[in-house]
Subunit: 127 residues, 2 copies
Amino acid sequence: MSNEVINLKQKAQLITDHWSPRVIASVDDSYVKIAKVKGEFTWHDHLEDEFFLVLDGQLIIEIKKDDKTESVELKAGEVYVVPKGVMHNPVAEEECTLMLFEKKTTAHTGDVKADLTKDINTQLKPL
Amino acid sequence: MSNEVINLKQKAQLITDHWSPRVIASVDDSYVKIAKVKGEFTWHDHLEDEFFLVLDGQLIIEIKKDDKTESVELKAGEVYVVPKGVMHNPVAEEECTLMLFEKKTTAHTGDVKADLTKDINTQLKPL
């Protein structure tokens, strides 16, 4: 996985499933992942921060704050970090391509086991 | 620094100095940084891996491997991770904009104290 130049667009073209992040690089105790998403994910939180960069399309991250729901809107080239412990739910009206930076220990959907939950071995399958 | 949407291009436009990375986000024990670079940096290594994403322009990362020097060429949208302990020297013929992921503990130029070395407080100055 390491020691190679990774073209994000080319890698993204190899992804066919929505909400199925794929690891493209390892950086110390974190993974860099690419995901294609469309529709609604599932409300969850993590023990660690989660970094989102939109590569293509638009992403809405719904966030629970003081029992209210806020929406963060991200266009291509925009970054947002969901802080640890914050309940969030990514939503994309149209297909959207993301780069994620997560700790290797981060559970994809937190404690929530959803139909969309992918284990780390699925995420580690080479593209 | 957190809880805001960060537009990478807009942030990069605020950077005027070359080889002076600026922290744009904190992700657990790592920083996300943007840098504009032009010319040659300095040979150094780190105790941690270093993630490079070229946002604009072209970057060459010269790398020492078994006493030989190899060149890794990165275009916009391409990623490379320099593994911990590997001597490397970034070079850009023309101005190039980068996004970096580094541990908060990572020394900018490793053990090397070069004219270009920026301390973390300089890197943390808000853009």
